[in-house]
């Protein structure tokens, strides 16, 4: 999908602390409507803290996070989700002893009083026919790849404006990683903006419009996916070539 240029999510000079540990040190990102933006970085770079900050699970000690021009960093998670941000958390975090259908229902929890459940279910089943076939199966009994599909489907049930995905390729076989990224691209083409946090740099940049590279809580590189792919630092640090 073509980016419209309107800023959807804006991280402005955000600092976060876990006790005395300074995690994000003044990071700024901008995600525009229609984009796929990749956030890249190694372990302990602050990627997951970024995701938690977007969702209101971690409060910034300084700086602002705004969504569609409104500050959201002081809001409860339930309110942030209701405004149109949906997470696909790291490690998928499904409800293992609930069925696929119940997991999808929980995805739509903030909009449970609104009509449209059947349409949204159809849309998710259209993307993932497997989930429809096995809708009464317990989520905990599915394979890793299937669980990832369900985690994405669950997030889509709110019809989010922005989908925040934390390490969607983690723990998946290469063939499944490709499948997941194809789906991410398809979701984006249907109109959802995507913020994807990834260690798999090559894969993430193959679908992203733009990317940020985070190291030790600071943005060290930013640019279009093409620029980042060609950047010698990235090639050396993440893609294993000089």
């Amino acid at each position: 999908m073509k980016a419209s240029g309107r800023v959807l999510l804006n991280f402005c000079d955000v600092h976060t602390h876990y006790g005395s540990l300074h995690v994000l040190k003044g990071v700024s990102y901008e995600i525009r409507e229609g984009e796929i933006v990749a956030l890249l970085g190694g372990n302990a770079s602050g990627k997951s803290t970024t995701m938690k900050t977007v969702l209101g699970l971690v409060r910034p000690s300084e700086g602002t996070v705004s969504f569609r021009g409104q500050p959201i960093h002081a809001l409860r998670t339930s309110e942030i989700v209701r405004r149109g941000i949906a997470p696909v958390p790291e490690g998928r975090r499904l409800f293992p002893r609930m069925t696929i259908l119940e997991n999808l229902e929980m995805g739509r929890y903030t909009r449970r009083a609104e009509p449209g459940w059947a349409e949204e279910l159809d849309r998710v089943f259209g993307l993932f026919p497997l989930l429809k076939e096995r809708r009464h199966q317990l989520a905990g009994t599915m394979s890793g790849g299937e669980q990832q599909m369900l985690a994405i489907g669950r997030a889509l049930m709110t019809r989010p404006t922005l989908l925040c995905m934390d390490e969607p390729s983690m723990g998946l076989a290469p063939r499944l990683v490709e499948e997941v990224f194809d789906i991410i691209r398809a979701i984006n083409e249907q109109g959802t903006t995507i913020f994807v946090i990834e260690q798999n740099v090559n894969m993430a940049l193959s679908i992203a419009h733009r990317g940020y590279v985070l190291q030790m809580g600071e943005v060290v590189l930013a640019g279009s996916a093409q620029e980042l792919l060609e950047n010698p630092l990235i090639r050396k640090a993440y893609l294993g070539s000089g």
Partner: protein, 309 residues
């Protein structure tokens, strides 16, 4: 009476008692399932419930010297009694969570559990102050009807308790399995952080859990009053401990486990009392608990292993 008839009689007695333990065990297990806290104030909420019931009955003009009721008067009185008592104990549970436990939610270790013991003492001593140390007679509003089933006898009281218990459990089961709120409770129990990311207000789910658990304890306390015909500030401990054993036996955190454990303890109490002797009841119950814990540490149906004390 032949041995088989005696056993049958004790099974009938045990099932009615078991319902009381099950109702009480549900509160322990639901709270543990959501916030991994063993809530010892539950014993005292149960005890307080018997006095709430007493007050409700007195307000309706039913006292310890009143005759038993029949017909619409009985049904109406029972409905009001259960509704008012359950609502009051439910609110009491919510207040305990809100005032004493919420600020300790993220405190590691045993502080929250010890706080619940403190709350238990506050309630026990409040009831002692108000009602004094002597036992209070609980009005016997259920008529003393009896039916022969073989050589065993089923009393109307047992039938009422069993049916009310069953209805409450089916209602709980429906709520937890079928309603969105119940599903949110299960989701929170399975992964509270993920539930929060779905937009579920975890604090509200915890409040709801305390309300439901304490309301069921209120129903359990009416079972106690109606069954034994008395109450006192001291009744929470023994019954509460047996109900807690039921929850652990069934697998703490498991709702069907609490029901199974409650019925199991009820039957153990009545059969053990008959076959071995009433004074051995607790020895038998807690020995069984130890045996189950050694061979099945998660309890009969449990998915959780207790982490916090």
């Amino acid at each position: 009476m032949s041995t088989v008839d005696v056993l049958l009689q004790q099974i009938v007695n045990g099932l009615a008692l078991g319902m009381m333990y099950a109702l009480l065990a549900l509160g322990f297990t639901m709270v543990y399932g959501i916030i991994e806290l063993i809530n010892f104030s539950h014993f005292s909420v149960f005890m307080t419930g018997t006095f709430v019931g007493l007050v409700v009955l007195n307000l309706m003009g039913v006292t310890a010297v009143s005759k038993s009721l029949t017909g619409f008067a009985l049904v109406g009185t029972l409905v009001v009694l259960f509704a008012a008592t359950m609502a009051t104990t439910g609110v009491l549970g919510v207040l305990i969570e809100r005032i004493c436990l919420r600020s300790l939610r993220h405190v590691a270790g045993t502080a929250p559990m010890i706080t619940t013991i403190g709350v238990a003492f506050i309630l026990i001593n409040t009831m002692l102050l108000i009602w004094g140390p002597q036992a209070q007679r609980f009005p016997q509003l259920l008529p003393n009807w009896r039916w022969a089933v073989g050589a065993a006898e089923v009393t109307f009281k047992q039938v009422v308790l069993f049916v009310v218990g069953l209805v409450l459990m089916l209602a709980l089961s429906h709520l937890v399995k079928r309603t969105t709120l119940g599903k949110a409770m299960r989701a929170t129990a399975q992964d509270a952080d993920a539930a929060r990311m779905m937009g579920i207000d975890v604090d509200r789910v915890v409040v709801l859990t305390f309300f439901l658990g304490s309301a069921l304890a209120g129903a359990g306390s009416l079972f106690f009053g109606l069954y034994y015909g008395f109450t006192g500030y001291y009744i929470g401990y023994t019954t509460g401990l047996r109900a807690f054993t039921s929850a652990v036996l069934g697998g703490i955190g498991s709702i069907p486990g609490a029901v199974l454990g409650g019925l199991f303890i009820g039957l153990t109490q009545s059969l053990g009392g008959q076959l071995v002797g009433v004074k051995w009841t607790d020895v038998i119950i807690f020995s069984l608990l130890i045996i189950v814990m050694v061979f099945r540490p998660n309890g009969l149906l449990g998915a959780h292993v207790p982490q916090k004390a």
